[in-house]
């Protein structure tokens, strides 16, 4: 099998879905009228603001994620494992639920203000505005970056820490000489992904940003497609978004450096930098900030789930049917995403390692993320137009949702699995080549021990992402289809906000349980320590 074939097949699927949807919508439009649509001042004001908030959100998320990842890497504390798993939740819970959680903590009558009032201070109204957007985006994205960075730090060969002890390196030197080089291998890719998520943010920016001053390009696309039913303008704006995001993330990838792994005998050594007072203070600071920005809003979601309606909702058959359907979708989508991600990485690591073209490999991995910058309603509308000529869209509901969810989870799988797969290649590629071990045998006999844990992590992330994703189904309109997020939005639309809060809590707990189950079952979490 030629080296490029796996990635080509996987990316062909991405291209078929994204390209097919955009093309179908473009063809259905009377005309794109690019000069007319791209010439107005409103659009460029929106683009400027979108770029500004996305850049700032990404920078701040990264700036917070680095100390958080360091703290998690060099300290063991009670609740560390739970914290790591909670991290996976923030990307999962539906936007509107997250907004309520954040408002419950940081809002005008939120917990933080309650504490202020208790201490005799004036209540501070800091949430709605630029700060609100940043708080929202840090909540969604910082945990993801921190998790990726932690993985990179943990991949540093343990012998390095022995050497660091022998030289008596201080915390600052360890960061500069050991951690930063390790972080730089994954940071541009992860930051690029977060940039895309912030760029395409819609309800968070509008609501926490305080209103129409905080309008992103995604809002303008929505307005064109739904409010004005101007398909041409919607496609034109979606293309602007696609091109801008791609260009910026490509530029960001230029900062990536190839990882320089060295062989390890796999023994564990203590890090020499867990002692210092300043280090301890920063670590405590990082964890406290994490608690305030990530854990407390999640806790607020859980607390809201206990209300007068809890028992009633829990005893509904519809809830458990939705749980079942969501689990089927999540697991199928996750497995598909893992296969696609593996296929892309098998090709890209050969490109990077054997052919010595890390830049091309980075771009290859990036193209797996393209689906994230196409607005979901554009994707759904385009797919609908595309498919209804060849099939009954309602009958396709389930496979279609699984496919789209898998493609949406794909970029995350690539980020979580990329580092470890590269590591395996560096370690065993020569051996495998000289012994002629390839394909399934290579995975089973050689790489499984090393890839098992990261593979399980990637699968768990993909599954929880699909569990929380509303998918395109809401826009397709099928009566017999009911996932948890869909049920949640229906409850909200029908005035049932307390029922919706219960469903949100169930969804969060289910994500957490799924995460634990996959990491334990597949990843062998109990068998700690590297193989």
């Amino acid at each position: 099998m030629p080296w490029w074939l796996p990635a080509t097949l996987a990316l062909a699927l991405v291209a078929a879905v994204v390209g097919g949807a955009l093309l179908a919508l473009g063809l259905a439009a009377p005309g794109l009228d690019l000069p007319g649509n791209l010439g107005d001042a409103y659009l460029w004001r929106v683009v400027r603001f979108t770029l500004f908030q996305a850049t700032l959100s990404t920078v701040i998320s990264v700036a917070l994620a680095i100390p958080v990842a360091r703290a998690l890497a060099r300290r063991q504390f009670i609740g560390r494992g739970l914290l790591l798993r909670l991290f996976s939740l923030s990307l999962v819970i539906p936007t509107i639920v997250a907004i309520f959680g954040i408002a419950a903590v940081h809002g005008r009558t939120g917990w933080v203000n309650d504490v202020f009032a208790l201490l005799g201070f004036e209540r501070a109204h800091y949430l709605y505005g630029l700060i609100g957007i940043l708080i929202g985006h840090v909540f969604f994205n910082m945990p993801f970056i921190a998790r990726i960075l932690l993985q990179a730090i943990e991949a540093v060969p343990p012998e390095t820490w022995r050497v660091a002890s022998q030289y008596g390196l201080r915390s600052r030197d360890i960061f500069r000489l050991i951690e930063w080089p390790a972080l730089r291998t994954v940071l541009p890719g992860a930051a690029g992904l977060v940039f895309m998520l912030c760029f395409t943010s819609f309800a968070v920016v509008l609501t926490l940003g305080g209103g129409p001053k905080a309008t992103t390009l995604e809002v303008a696309v929505y307005q064109a497609l739904r409010f004005d039913f101007d398909l041409g303008r919607a496609v034109a704006l979606a293309l602007v978004q696609l091109c801008l995001c791609t260009a910026i993330v490509l530029a960001l990838l230029q900062l990536a450096v190839p990882s320089s792994m060295t062989l390890t005998e796999g023994r564990r050594y203590e890090r020499p930098d867990s002692g210092g007072r300043l280090g301890l203070a920063t670590d405590i600071g990082a964890v406290v900030v994490t608690l305030g920005l990530v854990v407390l809003p999640l806790a607020a979601v859980a607390v809201a789930g206990f209300n007068a309606r809890t028992l009633e909702v829990l005893s509904r058959w519809e809830l458990w049917r939705a749980v079942g359907q969501s689990l089927v979708i999540a697991l199928s989508a996750a497995i598909l995403a893992l296969l696609l991600g593996g296929a892309i990485l098998v090709s890209s690591r050969i490109l990077r390692h054997r052919l010595g073209r890390p830049g091309a490999a980075g771009r290859l991995e990036l193209s797996a993320s393209l689906i994230l910058v196409v607005p979901p309603f554009v994707l759904a509308t385009g797919l609908f137009i595309l498919l209804r000529q060849v099939a009954d869209v309602f009958a396709l509901g389930m496979p279609l949702v699984i496919l789209v969810n898998a493609l949406m989870a794909l970029p995350f799988v690539v980020r979580f699995l990329g580092g470890p797969m590269m590591e395996e290649a560096l370690r065993h590629d020569r051996l495998c080549q000289s012994l002629g071990i390839a394909g399934w045998n290579r995975l089973r006999l050689i790489e499984w021990t090393g890839l098992r844990r990261p593979g399980a992590l990637a699968l768990a992330v993909a599954a929880t992402l699909s569990l929380g994703d509303l998918g395109v189904i809401a826009l397709f309109g099928s009566q017999d289809f009911a996932t948890l997020p869909l049920l949640l939005y229906q409850a909200m639309g029908g005035f049932r906000l307390s029922e919706a809060a219960v469903i949100a809590a169930v969804l969060s707990l289910l994500c957490l349980a799924l995460f634990f189950a996959i990491e334990w079952g597949l990843g062998g979490l109990r068998r700690r320590g590297h193989a």
């Binding site: 129409p212 826009l475 029908g494 005035f495």
Partner: protein, 333 residues
């Protein structure tokens, strides 16, 4: 083997429709909160199927505008017999699509506060936009839109965006109706009191219930939900002297329906008590006929606007773009 039998019988249990494939099917495009278990959809389906000798199939789209959007995307090849849940502000576009047919129904008993005479659209419920307030944090709410606009800026409100939500567009038209060409100045003053402007109703109302502001843009009927479903008197709507802007939800049959008689029959059923009595506690909106059993008691305690405010659908269609532009300029200044 056992498993196969089990799966087979499970499949049969799940797909009861396939057994009666010969029966007629009426397909209704509507939005999902109408058909959800909490909405009126399930009861309506049961009541209609009881004597139509047909299957009523809902296609649940994400919103009122989603219904129209789906119809336009499909064009002549749409599968709908009836579309249900369009609101007045997208009526002109729906009419211009040329996909809807005259209903041919002469409604006898309409109790709508405004005269209704339209050959394509029939109303099925209505309501009024209003500011709902928290009686525990706001003792004396403004008594008119004007008082709200001129209130000190520490009176905080939560609004919805007219570009993305129905109540948001409703307030835009309300302000326009009351202030005319001076609407931008009113908006500039409202903007100073606005905590945030959300994408949809759910975000705004949820934040209001969390206490993020003492007032939120919603409907006069919202307190009925709290009084009936939660036995809670705390949230009330503020009556505004200028009157309240009205929302009317309508339905129509499609030109492409393969069974116009059945579609018409559904529209007639829609105006009967069997359908209408599900609305006060399913949609939390007013029915368009006088119900034989009357309205739930809580409805007597709601704000009853002396004067419904409404623009002609054609005027909304023609000027909406300019008004939104004007609003955007005013609130982002």
């Amino acid at each position: 083997m056992r498993l196969a039998t089990f799966l087979f019988s499970a499949a049969l249990a799940v797909l009861p429709l396939s057994a009666q494939a010969a029966e007629k099917t009426l397909t209704v495009y509507t939005y999902d909160s109408f058909t959800s278990d909490w909405g009126p959809g399930p009861a309506i389906k049961e009541a209609f199927e009881a004597d139509c000798g047909c299957t009523l199939e809902f296609v649940a789209l994400d919103s009122s505008i989603g219904v129209l959007s789906r119809l336009r995307l499909e064009g002549e090849n749409n599968k709908a017999d009836v579309v249900l849940g369009l609101d007045l502000n997208i009526l002109a576009e729906a009419r211009d699509s040329g996909l809807l047919a005259p209903h041919g129904v002469t409604p006898q008993n309409l109790a709508l506060p405004v005269a209704w005479d339209d050959d394509i659209f029939l109303p099925f419920d209505y309501g009024y936009f209003a500011f709902v307030y928290d009686t525990e944090t706001l003792a004396a709410p403004p008594k008119s839109l004007k008082e709200l606009v001129e209130a000190p800026d520490d009176l905080k409100i939560i609004l919805q965006d007219p570009r993305t939500s129905t109540p948001g567009l409703g307030l835009l038209l309300w302000v326009r109706k009351v202030y005319g060409d001076e609407a931008p100045e009113a908006w500039a003053r409202l903007a100073k009191k606005t905590v945030t402007t959300t994408k949809g109703w759910s975000e705004a109302y949820g934040l209001f219930l969390e206490g993020e502001a003492p007032m939120v843009l919603s409907y006069t009927t919202s307190p009925a939900y709290h009084m009936i479903a939660e036995d809670e008197q705390r949230y009330q709507a503020a009556a505004f002297a200028e009157g309240h802007y009205m929302q009317v939800e309508v339905a129509a049959m499609t030109k492409s329906t393969d069974d116009p008689d059945l579609a018409r029959r559904f529209l007639e059923f829609m105006l009967s008590p069997g359908f209408q009595s599900t609305l006060p506690t399913g949609q939390w909106m007013y029915p368009v006929i006088d119900l034989p059993e009357g309205l739930p008691e809580a409805y007597n305690r709601l704000v009853d606007p002396a004067q419904p405010l409404l623009f002609e659908a054609e005027e909304v269609a023609a000027r909406r773009g300019a008004w939104v532009e004007e609003w955007l300029q005013a609130v982002t200044r």
